[in-house]
């Protein structure tokens, strides 16, 4: 056969050529640029345009950033140093740092919010990362009460008696378990409410008179700056997830009363702008409460923000629940798991996993929406920036404050977004 071949073909190469690198235009960076940046007329034009825009931005902002001033007493001090050139005057942030962080929190007590923040990360550890020892979750459970105590101070027995309400709820759930899901659930809701209304106040007073332990009291109107944003944001996030889950479950319930309460709540809250809810918190909530109870403004805002986010989360979680095949419920039932166990062990882990992007979306929205409290007179960072600009020293400063505030919010929101992507990857178990 090779003979015929040799006769019909004039030349046969009998050695392999060594592999050569592709021509320069098909290689590395050049190839990548040709394919991604200069792939046709429109693509080339857009590339050139984008480069121009970026270059213009850098040319405008670069020098301004390069001439940053960190030490000055006032805007006019900055201008003096700059001597006519344009430059960033970060001195305002240095000058008003404490105010931006803590508002009007008593300076000698700054350690309390700082400690609260540090402990927040400790408490978040076991919730966010599986490699943190599981036993730490107990600290996470008491953290909300500890955090309240550290920030607001007062008698230590108050958060303790409030916490006991949750214990009462759990005890009721267990005690009435044998009577079925509905009865035990109702008991678990009523028991803590009764406890808080009847026993908690007295218990606090009694314990306080026996063992008067406590920290110096700090009132809510002394809170401000990022302290307010973080308190409202994290409390709202922490409360709205469980509330949203319960609302989603309630909406799926076949008990008509529970279902309609949940549907009404969700639809009403979602249909109303957050800012109106905040005004309601400021004005109306006071009327509904028993006279004589001074109901803290921050607490009211937290409640409203929580309601708002919970309504959204309920719908996100409902989507996750709807995506689960019915077989999962049936398998859980067939194995004899009761409603709450099936929810906790089988249904929710899967439904929440599906819902992670939507939930984190809601959290990020909630966190940024905390800046709306400026409209009801709370001095969050945006509110403070207005106050700072109204002072004679810093009148006329804009960009530096807003860039700083924006950057801090961005760090938190970007962190949440990254974490959610990590979580989705980690929970990836359907290897299809």
């Amino acid at each position: 056969m090779s003979d015929t071949h040799a006769q019909t073909v004039a030349f046969v190469r009998d050695t392999m050529l060594p592999e050569r690198e592709p021509p320069i235009l098909e290689r590395g960076a050049v190839k990548w640029m040709r394919e991604n940046l200069f792939n046709g007329i429109i693509s080339t034009a857009l590339t050139v345009l984008s480069v121009l825009v970026v270059a213009w931005g850098v040319a405008e902002i670069g020098p301004w950033l390069m001439r940053s001033i960190w030490d000055a007493e006032s805007l006019s001090g900055c201008r003096q140093i700059l001597d006519g050139a344009s430059g960033a005057c970060w001195a305002v942030i240095k000058d008003r740092w404490h105010q931006l962080m803590f508002g009007f929190y008593p300076p000698d007590l700054y350690w309390r919010p700082v400690l609260t923040l540090i402990l927040l990360f400790v408490a978040l550890g076991p919730i966010l990362f599986p490699w943190v020892p599981r036993g730490m979750i107990r600290f996470s459970a008491i953290y909300p009460f500890l955090g309240y105590f550290l920030l607001w101070g007062g008698s230590v027995w108050f958060p303790v008696s409030v916490a006991l309400g949750f214990v009462a709820g759990y005890a009721a759930l267990v005690a009435f378990r044998s009577l079925g899901t509905l009865v035990s659930t109702i008991a678990a809701i009523i028991a803590p409410i009764l406890w808080w209304l009847i026993a908690a106040g007295t218990l606090t007073a009694v314990l306080d008179s026996i063992v008067p332990l406590g920290l110096e009291r700090v009132d809510s109107d002394e809170f401000g700056g990022f302290l307010i944003s973080l308190v409202i944001g994290f409390t709202g996030i922490g409360l709205s997830l469980p509330m949203g889950i319960l609302l989603a479950l309630g909406r799926q319930s076949n008990m008509i009363l529970i279902k309609s309460v949940c549907v009404t709540f969700i639809e009403f809250i979602r249909g109303v702008p957050l800012i109106t809810l905040l005004f309601t918190a400021q004005l109306l909530l006071g009327y509904f409460l028993p006279p004589g109870t001074s109901f803290d403004l921050i607490l009211r805002v937290v409640i409203m923000v929580t309601f708002f986010a919970a309504a959204y989360i309920a719908e996100v979680v409902r989507g996750g629940l709807a995506a689960l095949p019915r077989g999962q419920y049936e398998a859980a039932d067939a194995l004899g798991l009761d409603y709450w166990r099936a929810q906790r062990l089988i249904i929710m882990p899967q439904a929440l996993k599906i819902s992670i992007p939507g939930i984190v979306n809601t959290f990020i929205g909630l966190f940024k929406d905390t800046t709306l409290v400026v409209f009801i007179g709370l001095l969050d960072p945006v509110g403070l920036s207005n106050a700072i600009r109204a002072s004679s020293d810093w009148q006329g400063i804009y960009w530096e404050l807003f860039i700083f505030i924006g950057a801090v919010f961005f760090i938190f929101c970007f962190g949440m977004s990254r974490y959610s992507m990590y979580l989705e990857r980690r929970l990836q178990t359907d290897h299809r």
Binding site: A334, G336, T429, D430, H431
Partner: protein, 267 residues
């Protein structure tokens, strides 16, 4: 008429030494009726299952087979009549339902494994949370049953990493970990490729050999002939005919049974 020879696909001797039907009643259903809205799915079902019985339920699609066995562990609620499982009557009383469910294992057509848990966790979850078995012990039991269904090496994988046949065997092991007295199977092989059907049927035969009380909805007539002591034929929500398998296949009484058998056996 020549005796019907079924292509069983079962190539081993079946050990019948433990397959004894006792006098004790496992399931007693009397004049049970069920409706889906206006639709009368189950009509006047009367049925008694003794301990150790291996019953195959067959019938055309939509005849109510699944609904019937799902009533036995209350995945469906019946509207009239009585169902007594292992001495416990199924009513709306949740305690009774829980008791029955922990005595009755169920295997589904689509396996219904929990995809977010490993095979081992799938098997230990119910014993730990329902039976309150310590984790160590539950894991030992789980490994025991995973060995029995011949996939102990998959214990730490997730269901999504297993083939259909393997998943169904895990589902059987998961039920067995609750140490049920009765096993219900709802078309356990009909979502599987032919080569996987055999491994699942083998597992079921093994169970039967150990004397488990079994109620299987299946169209594997080879399995019925080899293992069942009774075949129940349902049509339009009624039990039309029941008999021991040899009689059932060779000497069907009603026309509906004859028609069904001729379709399914391809005569």
């Amino acid at each position: 008429m020549a005796e019907v020879q079924l292509e069983t696909g079962i190539d081993r001797e079946i050990d019948r030494s433990n397959m004894q039907v006792s006098d004790e009643i496992a399931i007693q259903i009397t004049r049970m009726n069920k409706w889906f809205g206006q639709f009368h799915v189950l009509r006047d079902i009367d049925m008694t299952v003794h301990n150790g019985e291996r019953i195959v339920v067959c019938g055309p699609s939509g005849s109510g087979k699944s609904t019937l066995i799902r009533c036995i562990n209350r995945l469906e609620e019946h509207q009239s009549g009585q169902i007594i499982v292992d001495g416990t009557e199924l009513t709306s009383d949740l305690k009774n339902i829980d008791r029955v469910r922990s005595e009755v294992g169920m295997v589904f057509q689509h396996f219904n494994l929990f995809p977010h848990l490993t095979i081992l966790e799938n098997c230990t979850l119910a014993p730990i949370w329902v039976r309150k078995v310590p984790r160590r012990e539950a894991e030992e039991t789980a490994m025991h049953f995973l060995e029995k269904v011949k996939i102990p090496e998959q214990a730490n994988k997730y269901p999504g990493q297993l083939s259909g046949g393997q998943q169904q065997r895990v589902a059987i092991a998961r039920s067995l970990c609750m140490r049920p007295r009765i096993m219900l199977f709802d078309e356990p092989t009909s979502a599987l490729d032919p080569e996987m059907i055999k491994e699942v049927l083998d597992t079921m035969i093994q169970l039967a050999e150990e004397g488990m009380t079994m109620l299987c909805v299946t169209h594997e007539m080879g399995f019925a002939q080899a293992v069942a002591n009774r075949v129940i034929f349902m049509d339009q929500g009624q039990i039309v005919e029941q008999n021991e398998p040899r009689e059932f296949f060779n000497n069907p009484q009603s026309d509906r049974t004859k028609l069904f058998l001729s379709q399914i056996l391809g005569h």
